[in-house]
Structures are given as C-alpha cells and as structure tokens.
C-alpha cells in the first residue's frame, strides 16, 4: 500500500474514532481515574470490552501470521514512561485521545495540553540525544539487553513459535480474564445500586431522622 493510501485509511479510521468518542464521551483517563478515585466504572467497562474483542481479533490473525503487530524491545523504560504518562493524564484531565477530541469540541485547555505534550516530546528528544536511552528501535535485537534495562521482545506470536500453541489460545485466555474483571465490576455496580436504594428507602421511611442526619 502506498504511503498516501495508508494516510487516507488512517485519517478515515481517526475520523470515525473521533466521532464515536465525541458522541460517547469515552475517556481513557476517566476509565482509570474514576475507577480509582470515585469507584465508578462507566468508561472502565468500555475499555475492557474493547480489549476483549481486540485480544481475540489480534491474536486470531497473528496465529496465521497476518496483521502488523508492534515490534520493538521493551523494559524498564516502558513501565517508567507509562508511569509518568499516568500521572500526567490525571493532572491534565485528558489522555492522547481526549486531547484531540476535546480540542475538536473547542476546548482550549485540551489544545494547551496537546501543545505541551509536543513540548515534552521535544525536551525528551534533547535528553535522548545526550544519553541515547532507551536504545533506538534500529539498534534493538529482540533479546534481553540488561545494560539498557530492556527485556527484549515477546508477544502472543512469539509464544506460539516457542510453545507450539496457537496465539489465539492465549488471546482467548486473556479475554476470559478481562471478562471476569468485567463481571466483577457489574457485581460491584449492582451492590452499589442496592445500597443506594436501601439508603433512599430508609430516608423515605424516617424523614425526620434523615433530615437530621443530613443537617448534621
């Protein structure tokens, strides 16, 4: 596929994603932050469902060698980078997707976050040019590189090649685990709902005491 066609496909995909995210108010930051801070799971459930579908879909095609999985070495930098990112996204109140989507809705704060994401990337490029860590993809070998604190490369397909078990089997197991988390969230939501209804019922039965409690 020519680079121009690739760019067109990417733009079409992005446009549909932008529209769906705008209409659904999905936010990856909220999916994590709300579950941690407020014990609400509206976005967390959507994230889990997407990952269930993707795990089976990606590993299914990887079993037959189709698709373009990411391939570069990972290690301490992967953990540390996303750790910084996690703090940043909660402070900014937006992640990479919602900065673009909110900016498209006219949110100047989101555009500002985006601008400083670019600034952060440029600052990092200066630091990288001084210490060359983490290694550039061109110099990665796929094997553990302890000096650079990297573990190498592994995914469902490398597991298939090593163990002889189709990649999709691992994908199905991952989806099952994600589904178990999803069901646990549903149970928790039902318990929260039941508790909420009980409180309301109690308040309705004893309005005076409830008013007192509220005043206190």
């Amino acid at each position: 596929m020519s680079p121009v066609a690739e760019c067109l496909v990417a733009f079409l995909f992005g446009s549909i994603v932008g529209l769906l995210v705008q209409r659904s108010r999905f936010c990856n930051t909220a999916a994590l932050r709300d579950a941690i801070m407020f014990k609400t799971y509206r976005n967390t459930k959507a994230l889990l469902v997407a990952m269930m579908i993707l795990s089976v879909g990606f590993t299914g095609f990887m079993t037959v060698g189709a698709g373009h999985p990411m391939s570069f070495d990972v290690g301490l930098n992967t953990f540390a980078g996303l750790f910084l990112f996690g703090i940043g996204m909660v402070l900014a109140g937006a992640c990479t997707v919602s900065t673009w989507v909110k900016a498209g809705e006219g949110n100047i704060g989101a555009a500002w976050a985006l601008l400083f994401t670019f600034v952060g990337m440029f600052l990092f490029s200066l630091v990288w040019s001084w210490n060359y860590w983490p290694p550039a993809p061109a110099s990665m070998t796929g094997e553990p590189n302890l000096e650079a604190l990297q573990l190498g490369f592994a995914n469902a397909r490398t597991l298939q090649d090593k163990l002889g078990i189709p990649a999709v089997v691992f994908g199905l197991i991952q989806s099952a685990v994600l589904f178990a988390i999803y069901r646990a969230i549903l149970r928790r939501e039902r318990a929260q709902q039941a508790q909420h209804e009980m409180h309301q019922k109690e308040a309705a039965e004893t309005p005076v005491e409830a008013a007192k409690a509220q005043a206190a």
Binding site: M1, E6, A10, F11, G14, S15, I16, V17, L19, L20, Q22, R23, S24, N28, L32, R33, N43, A50, I53, L54, S55, T59, H68, P69, V74, N77, T78, F79, A80, G81, L82, F83, F85, G86, I87, G88, M89, V90, L91, A92, C95, V97, A103, G104, E105, G106, I108, G109, A113, F116, T117, F118, V119, G120, M121, F124, S125, N155, A156, A167
Partner: protein, 163 residues
C-alpha cells in the same frame, strides 16, 4: 438525527472502534497516537529550526521527520471527527480553563505525557488498544505503569482538591 441528540453508550462506541482497529491492524497497524504526535513534533521543530534540527541526533536516528507517516493522520482524523460530531450535535463551543492553577496542572500534565510517551515508545492508546491486546510483554509493563501512575496522579489530585 438521533445519533447527534443522545449520548452514545461508550461500550457500544468502543466495541465498534475495536472492530475497526482490527481492520487497521491488518492494513497498517493497530490504533496509536503517540508516534504520530512525535512525528508532528519533529515536523513543527523542523519548520522553526530548519537544518538546525539535524544537530539533534534523535530526529535522525529515531524519528526523521516525514509528513507521509500514517500515524499523524489518525490524530488529525480524531480532531476532525470530533469537530464534526460536536458541530452536528450543537456541542461545539469555546471552553477555557478559568483558574491559573488549572492551566498549571494542564501544562505539567501535558509535559509528563509527552516525556512519558517518548521514554516508553508507546502511548496510552497503544498500551490498551495495541500492545496489551497483542499480548506483547511491553503491554503488561505499560499497563502496570499507567495504573501505578494514575493512582499516584489521583493521590496528588485529591491533595490539590482538598487544598
């Protein structure tokens, strides 16, 4: 149209995005944002610095700026799609953070996101909608990292909220 009047269930939206992401994975690669943003940073830097940019090895060895890098257009598409959605549902209006503290938090948050993406070579989208679902070892490292980061971020945020 009903679609532009009611809020869409995020589970339905994300299920649809996941199916489209599988097609994208087959054609060019899974949904990602950080790579495109890095390339945009390079292109913007090149616009302002010109040949001076050659003096920073990162932009030669890791991300030589190219405008025909497909990942850029996912981001531009998201901006365009969201703009169209917001206009058609009459939700487009200029919003501005009011307090100086909000501007400060957004600035720090944006910087940390940019630095984090480049340090890890992945963003939050690749973490969940690419690597994690490809069962890449990096996906698990990244998910652990972002969960720990979101937790620490929430603690800081709570502290700030409580004054």
């Amino acid at each position: 149209m009903e679609f532009f009047r009611k809020t869409l269930d995020p589970v339905i939206a994300l299920a649809a995005i996941a199916v489209l992401d599988i097609f994208l994975f087959l054609i060019v690669g899974a949904w990602t944002v950080g790579g495109g943003e890095t390339m945009m940073t390079g292109l913007i830097a090149q616009f302002f610095l010109g040949d001076e940019l050659q003096r920073i090895p990162f932009w030669q060895l890791v991300f030589p700026p190219h405008a025909d890098y497909w990942k850029i257009y996912i981001s531009l598409g998201m901006f365009f799609g969201a703009f169209v959605g917001a206009v058609l549902s009459k939700e487009f209006y200029w919003r501005m953070p009011r307090r100086a503290s909000e501007w400060l938090l957004i600035t720090i948050g944006g910087l940390l996101m940019g630095i984090g993406i480049r340090l890890a070579f992945v963003c939050n989208v690749s973490t969940f909608f690419g690597m994690g679902s490809e069962m890449n070892l990096g996906g698990y490292l990244a998910i652990s990292g972002i969960l720990a980061g979101a937790w620490v971020g929430s603690l800081i945020y709570k502290k700030i909220l409580e004054g």
